[in-house]
């Protein structure tokens, strides 16, 4: 490919040069440009040739100051004087063309440069760069390899080769080249690309290793810090994630990604006010960010300002209509507001976009139960139970519905399924079960006469649950008689913090009051809102 390129441009060299001259001639109104033999004869024999590089320094100074108009004027003058032989002028002209988006023209000019001085790796590098920008990665690789022969120790060639290989999905080669580049000279960009390869291959641990090294090398690069923080967040190592995000924010207090990620972590810990203050900064800088408004909405939800939550979420939804997470949250808030018909629409829209998530079907089922459609609710629960792997709530809610419908056998089966999931989850140390869910399960267990459920032996943190019931005392006045569908819906709103599911993505807990249990005439239902599935979108990017 490359050989052909050069040969073809060799042949075209004359026409390139002459073309340049022609344009100059045109602009200079034909003065002192006539290089016909006649004019040569007229000139004295002692005529000196101009120094080709005479104004290179001026061209360069204009170029680095981004004064492209002045630069072009000097280039034109220089090319006119040297009849298109000044390589550097053509080179800068090509760079400017490329900046202006005329990649094809720039490529041709770079090829001309490569002909004027074939031993210069720089020209080849630029040819390759233009090819790369045109999306011709294979051709770019060939030219880069050619350039690498001329200049062995150039990190840029290795780095760019690596990037080309990434686009060609040849990750092993890309990996090697990027490591070569790092070996020659370390640059943040190379680290970022190397990390990207590991992410594309789905190897988070290796990516973290790379980013760690990168942060060590350049500790003030906020992009590196943020990415590392987000990776830790993805792996659930919250302490380190927060540390790196915090560092990023120290160097750049307006870093959009870092604020959003740190804010979502604060939300997880219930620091809604702090998170909101942080979000204000982003709201000023990036007012049209859907994840931002989603997170703000869920902050308000956490603070029980439901109307504000809905308006923020609706704005997020307006900005990103196909984001199922926002729709999920909208469904959740509407369920809390007992607007079941709206909730149904949001949840079903979310399901259309994300048909593989058990929790969504569970929400749909709750909405349907409240819309007095138990038949469809059961089907939704069945689908939720089929899809879900580790959320015991799905099975608990299903069991409650079945129990309410008088199907003790089915309820028992779901209850056992739930116990199985709980046993599995107990092993993970960071997990704590929501007090209400435990209570509910115990009551249901009693009603189903399966005896004391031993699965709950892991003690629930008392402080937290106490705090909850205290904060929720007001909501008790809203209580409806047990057993009715209203009560079930009310229970929906009392979903509690249950974020740390291994599945990660937006776990929501919703313990449901056991219906018509004679033992408990007036349960203190905590209308504790769900800690929202604070969306951490950037992690996926």
């Amino acid at each position: 490919m490359y050989d052909i390129l050069v040969i073809s441009s060799m042949k075209n060299l004359m026409c390139y040069c002459s073309r340049i001259v022609v344009t100059c001639e045109h602009n200079a109104k034909g003065e002192n440009l006539i290089m016909t033999p006649l004019s040569v004869k007229i000139c004295s024999p002692a005529q000196e040739f101009p120094i080709l590089e005479k104004q290179n320094w001026l061209i360069h100074l204009h170029y680095i100051r981004k004064d492209y108009e002045a630069c072009k004027a000097v280039i034109k003058e220089q090319l006119q004087e040297t009849q298109g032989l000044c390589e550097y002028a053509i080179y800068v002209q090509a760079l400017i063309f490329r900046l202006e988006g005329n990649i094809q023209e720039s490529l041709e000019l770079f090829q001309t440069c490569a002909v004027l001085s074939p031993q210069c790796a720089d020209n080849l590098k630029q040819v390759a760069r233009s090819l790369f920008l045109l999306g011709k990665h294979k051709a770019a690789i060939e030219v880069y390899n050619e350039a690498a022969k001329l200049n062995q120790k150039d990190w840029e060639i290795c780095h760019n080769l690596g990037v080309c290989y990434i686009y060609l999905k040849q990750f092993d080669k890309a990996h090697d080249q990027l490591h070569n580049a790092l070996h020659l000279n370390r640059h943040d960009l190379t680290y970022i690309m190397l990390g990207k390869i590991h992410l594309l291959q789905g190897d988070l641990d290796k990516a973290i290793e790379i980013y760690k090294k990168a942060v060590e090398f350049s500790p003030e690069n906020t992009e590196l810090l943020t990415t590392l923080g987000l990776l830790y967040l993805q792996l659930g190592i919250y302490q380190k994630a927060f540390e790196h995000l915090g560092n990023a924010l120290t160097y750049d207090p307006t870093n959009y990604k870092a604020i959003l990620a740190a804010g979502s972590m604060m939300q997880t810990h219930g620091d809604f006010d702090v998170a909101l203050t942080k979000y204000r900064v982003v709201a000023c800088a990036v007012p049209e960010s859907p994840p931002l408004w989603n997170n703000i909405g869920m902050c308000f939800f956490g603070k029980k300002k439901y109307v504000a939550a809905i308006s923020c979420l609706k704005r997020a939804n307006y900005l990103a209509p196909f984001d199922w997470k926002i729709l999920y949250n909208l469904g959740l808030v509407h369920l809390t507001m007992q607007q079941y018909a709206s909730a149904f629409h949001f949840v079903s829209a979310a399901i259309n976009l994300q048909p593989k998530m058990g929790e969504l079907f569970m929400l749909l089922a709750v909405a349907l139960t409240n819309l007095e459609d138990p038949e469809n609710a059961r089907r939704a629960y069945a689908e939720a139970a089929r899809l879900d792997r580790c959320n015991p709530l799905v099975n608990l809610n299903y069991a409650v519905l079945l129990y309410n419908q008088g199907e003790r056998k089915g309820a028992l089966a779901q209850f056992q399924e739930m116990e199985k999931k709980v046993r599995l989850l107990k092993d993970s140390p960071s997990l704590e079960f929501d007090a209400e869910m435990v209570e509910m399960a115990q009551k249901l267990g009693a009603a189903l006469q399966v005896g004391e459920a031993l699965v709950w032996t892991k003690p629930v943190k008392d402080t937290k649950s106490k705090h909850r019931s205290a904060s929720a005392s007001k909501a008790a006045s809203l209580q409806q008689p047990l057993g009715s569908n209203q009560a079930l819906g009310q229970a929906m709103s009392s979903a509690a913090a249950y974020r740390k599911l291994p599945s990660g993505a937006g776990g929501t807990a919703q313990p449901i009051k056991p219906p018509s249990l004679p033992l408990e005439p007036e349960p203190a239902t905590g209308a504790q809102p769900t800690e929202a599935p604070a969306q951490i979108r950037e992690t996926q990017e």
């Binding site: 033999p37 040739f49 120094i51 590089e53 320094w57 680095i64 031993q119 640059h187 207090p253 308000f300």
Partner: protein, 593 residues
């Protein structure tokens, strides 16, 4: 970063209190007609009378009329034309004799012009570069008429392809010529020896053997052929020659030539090379991955501005110390040295019309200027010690004097929260209507849901019925029958009364061509006239797009438009394969008439 964010508040402060500004406005002339770079500005006591003058190597309004200007106070003292554009200007002491008046050196093209007492004193020209021996040999042969121009051309091309040493201009020019012109060119030039000349790209001074303020200095030149030269201040001989991997753009020197010195050269390939006294080649290399736009040494830190709007600090060994993001592109940089308070800081002229002064990464001061500053210089001017001289893109000259009481204080190290944090979130308020609707949904949610679901089913049913009907009567523009998979797309062009109607017919089957199709137009004959309302379609090759053109004449002058139906039929079948309704535009040609 912290410093960058605090710049807003800082500059705001500077603006709000003109009185508390650190600078006195000494002079502003927007029409001074000075177009130059920082490297072409120099301050010196040229006459030894204690009155410092400003030397400007002026490029002229469009780089056309280079001039050497010497300014005293706000006025131009002398002005003399230059033979070529000045690349750099420097003042230096040539010898120990009294009176110790500094000489002025101006680099331009391949020469350094040295002035004493503003009189031309010496002209130093860069030595010729050795020509390629093969090339030399070839031209010698030509001289003796041993080879013809065509052979010469071939041989020269061969040299250009492989040789390390580039060809001379003469050979390059020769290679460009047409066959017919070669003969004349050769006969005219064969007697001349071939030359290769390079030019100076940058220049600075280096103390010879003493560190004193008024010690004798050498000139350090950077050349286009990637070399650095150190010149003897008296004899103008080359004391040292160092080579670089790229062309130097900015130079920064510290130390003394006879003792030990460090040379930092920012080059065109985006790297900065650091050399020491005994090294012929660069000792350290800083790769910026961007173009440097300025290089300033502050004590032991090299401050580099890049064209990605950042300022970096590096140690002398090339280790990165810090990075500061700028609010706009950096155009020029220079050193601010306040001897009385032993302060050294970096001034950076930005494209947004501000000059930022940094001490390390802390922003000290922001100066707003009426035009974009393109060159900067700080030092003793006239009899005032701390004077800032700026020239602008429009050719203006700004002179400011630093107040003697002014103390640069670093902005607080820890910047507070960004101002945006105090802004209230823009959350819409709840309306009465919203509350009412919410209440209603709570009351009658189930009924609403059921009604909606019923209506939704009905709507779907209707849509399905309409679709089936359309399919049955071939009313759609895409035919999906197994035998004739076709696509039709119509375009109307023109303003009227004559329109051009183009039907794009495409056979979407993978392999089978279609033969024997007919096209028929149905239209209101009162309104439109078509030359042929019914014609045969040629054989349709799969995948190709067949544009079928026809003209439509609008007959009505009342500005009415109608629908023209296009039917694609199969020979011998009455039901159309597909059909299209074309909404004709109103004939504007008639309306205008």
């Amino acid at each position: 970063m912290a410093a960058a964010s605090s710049s807003d508040s800082d500059s705001g402060r500077a603006e709000s209190s003109e009185a508390s500004s650190k600078w006195l406005d000494a002079h502003y002339d927007p029409m001074a007609n000075i177009h130059t770079f920082s490297s072409c500005l120099a301050l010196a006591d040229l006459h030894g009378d204690g009155e410092y003058k400003l030397v400007v190597g002026d490029l002229g309004p469009s780089g056309q009329h280079p001039r050497l200007k010497v300014l005293k106070g706000p006025t131009v003292l002398t002005e003399s034309p230059l033979p070529a554009l000045p690349a750099a200007a420097a003042t230096f002491l040539m010898e120990q004799h009294e009176p110790r008046t500094p000489a002025l050196a101006l680099a331009s093209g391949p020469c350094v012009y040295v002035y004493k007492n503003l009189k031309p004193y010496f002209k130093f020209t860069l030595p010729q570069l050795p020509p390629n021996p093969l090339e030399q040999d070839l031209w010698n042969q030509v001289k003796e008429d041993r080879i013809d121009p065509l052979t010469l051309k071939e041989m020269l091309e061969g040299i250009r392809e492989k040789a390390e040493v580039p060809l001379s201009v003469q050979s390059l020019r020769f290679l460009q010529l047409e066959l017919s012109e070669m003969e004349a060119f050769v006969s005219q030039h064969k007697s001349k020896s071939i030359k290769r000349q390079t030019v100076i790209t940058t220049m600075t001074t280096l103390k010879k053997n003493l560190a004193d303020e008024d010690a004798v200095s050498c000139l350090v030149l950077g050349t286009e052929n990637k070399e650095l030269l150190v010149l003897d201040p008296e004899a103008f001989t080359i004391l040292a020659k160092m080579s670089l991997p790229s062309v130097p753009v900015f130079l920064e020197v510290s130390g003394q030539f006879d003792v030990e010195f460090r040379l930092a050269a920012a080059c065109r390939n985006g790297n900065i090379y650091i050399l020491r006294r005994d090294s012929k080649r660069p000792k350290y290399c800083i790769e910026l991955s961007a173009q440097p736009v300025g290089l300033v040494r502050v004590h032991k830190v090299l401050v580099v501005g890049s064209n990605q709007d950042t300022l970096h600090g590096f140690t002398h060994k090339g280790k990165k110390l810090w990075t500061v993001q700028m609010p706009a592109a950096i155009l020029t940089m220079n050193l601010l040295e306040q001897h009385s308070r032993s302060l050294q800081a970096v001034m950076a002229g930005l494209a947004n019309g501000e000059v930022h002064i940094y001490h390390d990464k802390a922003l000290l001061n922001v100066i707003r200027t009426p035009d974009v500053v393109t060159s900067l210089c700080f030092g003793r001017y006239g009899r005032e010690d701390n004077t800032l001289i700026m020239t602008t893109r429009g050719g203006g000259l700004i002179i400011k004097i630093l107040k003697r009481t002014a103390v640069f204080v670093e902005a607080r190290g820890e910047a507070g929260p960004p101002p945006a944090q105090a802004m209230k979130l823009n959350v819409p308020r709840k309306t009465r209507l919203y509350v009412d609707q919410t209440l209603r949904e709570r009351d009658a949610g189930t009924a609403m849901h059921r009604t909606f679901q019923t209506d939704l089913y009905l709507l779907r049913l209707r849509a399905a019925r309409a679709y089936v009907q359309a399919l049955e009567s071939s009313l759609n523009p895409v035919s999906v029958t197994a035998r004739e998979p076709l696509k039709l797309h119509a375009v109307v062009q023109g303003l009227g009364p004559t329109f051009k109607l183009t039907l794009h017919l495409q056979n979407t089957s993978t392999a089978r061509p279609i033969l024997g199709l007919l096209v028929c137009f149905l239209y209101n004959e009162v309104l439109y006239a078509l030359p042929r309302a019914f014609f045969k379609v040629p054989l349709l090759v799969p995948g190709l797009n067949y544009p079928l053109e026809t003209f439509v004449e609008s007959l009505s002058d009342k500005g009415i438009s109608d629908i023209i139906k296009v039917l694609v039929l199969r020979e011998g079948q009455s039901a159309p394969l597909l059909s299209a309704h074309i909404n004709m535009p109103v004939s504007e040609g008639l309306e205008a008439a």
